[in-house]
Amino acid sequence: MNVTAWRSVLPHLGYDLPPDLSPPGASGPITAQLPLELVRQSVSRREWWPIPEPVAELYRQYRPTPLWRATRFEAEVGARVPIYVKYEGGNLSGSHKLTTRAGPGALLQASGRT
């Protein structure tokens, strides 16, 4: 199965995230190091986001990996969003880090950062 989109949990929260606050006394010029697309995905209430092709190509090298919905855990913690558990120990690096960093890395590269 080819995965073509990431799913955001934000539309399921039922409330807006609080504003990000600066430490007391902070001042000075602002520089923007994050790509806007990553911020869009982090603050927007849109549910589905297309996966960049370089990331999808990477995923195809080791996916699918086992994924199941933790329905009993959801009930225990009173979850307002579906909670899934995914085993990522069988990928290229043997860790979830490859999967979780590939997306932001691709977005950083696409925004002109190296």
């Binding site: 606050l21 520089t31 923007a32 806007l36 911020v39 696409a110």
Partner: protein, 64 residues
């Protein structure tokens, strides 16, 4: 806060606005929605923003 009280010379990260880099980017995304535009991802590479005018200039340059 009344927007009319904010001048273009107001520091973005100062006593009044207290905007940090993440809040700044979140504000840009909201501006995209308000203005129905998509700002390029590389618009902010190697740039710094000190005052409201800096932000106005870069947004105005993109929507003109």
């Amino acid at each position: 806060m009344d927007p009319a009280e904010i001048t273009e010379a107001e520091p973005l990260s100062g006593a009044l606005l207290k905007i940090n880099s993440l809040g700044f980017l979140g504000m840009l995304v909201r501006l995209e929605d308000e203005l129905d535009v998509t700002l390029p991802d590389n618009l902010f590479v190697n740039r710094t923003f000190t005052t409201v005018a800096d932000l106005v200039d870069v947004i105005a340059g993109e929507i003109e």
